[in-house]
């Protein structure tokens, strides 16, 4: 029951995260900024519109947003993205989680390629390149968790009290935060505000989607932020199962919005990295996770 409540909370509250980030950025820029609920308004507006499909695109283009969101919803089911356990749990679900995220990206890339636009192809190429570099960091971080908790399931890892502590925890958190920023196309990697073709990565791929399709994509992006944020938050805050620590939804919500604020601060303080420097940062995240794996 509590798992269903967490699931529903994630579905309802995920669009708040981009809103919070935007508010933090507006605060740093001295603006009032848009409403925290802006993404909800956008989604409602987009869902009321019709979609435009180019005659060059086929069914893959229409399938992309739906399949991508479905994969993310499935990933949300195995991730304890709240104060409690997850909806479903079995041995090996951390691998499934990583590959559901990959599947979501894969169908988005396919849909982008299906438009036949060279511009979108370029974005797809960059997205795949960077995510291929982010994947080792993510998997090595998960490997540290699995090694310490002795389990390949998020539920068992996060319900055992503080699976990772001390120095490895710091390293894994740093690696996962970098992965969080990269996978969600936040600023050191990609600027979610820009529509400048030389610098865009993720935004390029979804340019041709319109109406409800774009609503699904925007919502999926918020959900993905919630999912990856949940990994960081569950790891960073003292949740616990049997011993110590409370299974507190309030603590989780505080954590994930604190993470959104931290992301906003990072975005306000940093410029986007040069494209050539991005692999170096992702590889250093892998190195952090690798060091954590060796030390733990």
């Amino acid at each position: 029951m509590t798992a269903i409540a967490d699931f529903a909370a994630a579905l309802l509250l995920a669009p708040l995260l981009p809103g919070v980030i935007n508010r933090v950025k507006a605060f740093f820029a001295g603006r009032r900024g848009q409403s925290v609920f802006q993404l909800y308004y956008d989604l409602r507006k987009l869902l009321a519109k019709g979609a435009v499909y180019s005659s060059a695109s086929g069914f893959v283009f229409r399938l992309g947003p739906v399949a991508s969101l479905a994969a993310l919803l499935a990933a949300l089911a195995v991730m304890p993205a709240g104060g409690h356990g997850s909806l479903a749990s079995f041995d090996g679900d951390i691998i499934l989680f990583a590959y559901l995220l990959a599947l979501s990206r894969f169908v988005t890339v396919l849909a982008a390629l299906d438009t036949g636009s060279s511009f979108e192809g370029m974005g797809a190429s960059r997205e795949v390149f960077f995510s291929a570099l982010a994947e080792p960091a993510f998997f090595l971080s998960l490997a540290v968790l699995a090694k310490k908790a002795g389990a390949f399931s998020f539920n068992l890892i996060f319900l055992s009290a503080n699976p990772v502590t001390g120095t490895p925890l710091l390293l894994v958190l740093a690696a996962l935060f970098i992965v969080f920023l990269a996978e969600n196309c936040r600023i050191p990697f990609d600027d979610p505000n820009t529509h400048l073709e030389l610098t865009m990565i993720h935004e390029v791929m979804v340019l041709d989607h319109s109406g409800p399709d774009f609503a699904l994509i925007s919502y999926g992006a918020a959900l993905k932020m919630w999912l990856l944020g949940a990994v960081v938050v569950r790891l960073a805050l003292p949740f616990g199962g049997g011993t110590g620590g409370a299974q507190s939804p309030a603590l989780f919500l505080a954590g994930i919005f604190a993470l959104a604020i931290a992301t906003g601060i990072v975005e306000s303080c940093m410029a986007r990295l040069r494209l050539l420097k991005v692999p170096a940062l992702l590889l250093s995240a892998s190195m952090l996770a690798f060091a954590a794996f060796m030390v733990s």
Binding site: S286, A291, M294
Partner: protein
């Protein structure tokens, strides 16, 4: 939290930063941070006045004096850092491999602490920087880091420390001479650059550019 393990991890991360840094300034900074961490590591032993002295001397030399001298030398030279033999991104992969070897070595020695792995890794990273970079500055920094690895090794050994630490300090002195040599080279402007790939021939015999 175990602070010594944290320091050992800082030493390791500085090695990674060093191998992947493209700018001399970043390399010098990484070496300086590592020097400070190594100095604080001395307190892993029971605190005696010798330990305090060793720590203070290490921090003064490695984290303050050498970076300062290297920065002066860097500003004096107008030449850019030449492109290394091994690319910066590929260096990460080599770092990971070297770190794996270091952990394996420390297990072989039955002193499988983070610091021992870090010591081996620091030695290897120093060697790697020496062979993969072309400029004399980078190679000097690589040498400094290599010496830091020897020092860390001495710290990681449970009992046989004094001789090894002394050895480390000896190498420190040699390092100082090394840097002085480069500075003198630059001030006298014998060469217009410090690219070791170009300083491969005697200038009397062949043009080196």
């Amino acid at each position: 939290m175990n602070y010594f393990e944290l320091l050992a991890v800082i030493v390791i991360l500085c090695d990674v930063a060093l191998c992947a840094a493209s700018r001399l300034r970043a390399m010098i900074r990484a070496a300086a941070v590592q020097g400070a961490a190594l100095g604080l590591l001395a307190f892993i032993k029971p605190v005696t006045w010798e330990i305090v002295l060793l720590s203070a001397a290490t921090i003064a030399i490695k984290a303050v004096l050498f970076p300062w001298l290297l920065n002066i030398a860097r500003e004096k030279s107008k030449a850019d850092e030449p492109a290394p033999y091994v690319g910066y991104n590929f260096s990460f992969a080599i770092c990971a491999a070297m770190f794996g070897v270091s952990v394996w070595l420390s297990h072989r020695l039955d002193v499988a602490t983070t610091l021992m792995a870090g010591a081996f890794f620091t030695v290897l990273a120093g060697f790697f920087v020496i062979v993969s970079r072309k400029s004399a500055f980078s190679q000097a920094i690589g040498y400094l880091v290599l010496e830091g690895g020897v020092y860390a090794f001495g710290m990681a050994m449970p009992n046989e420390a004094p001789a090894l630490v002394e050895l480390g300090l000896l190498l420190d002195v040699f390092m100082a001479v090394f840097i002085m040599g480069i500075m003198v080279y630059h001030i006298s402007r014998e060469f217009e650059h410090a690219d070791m790939a170009k300083i491969a021939f005697l200038s009397d015999l062949e043009d080196y550019d």
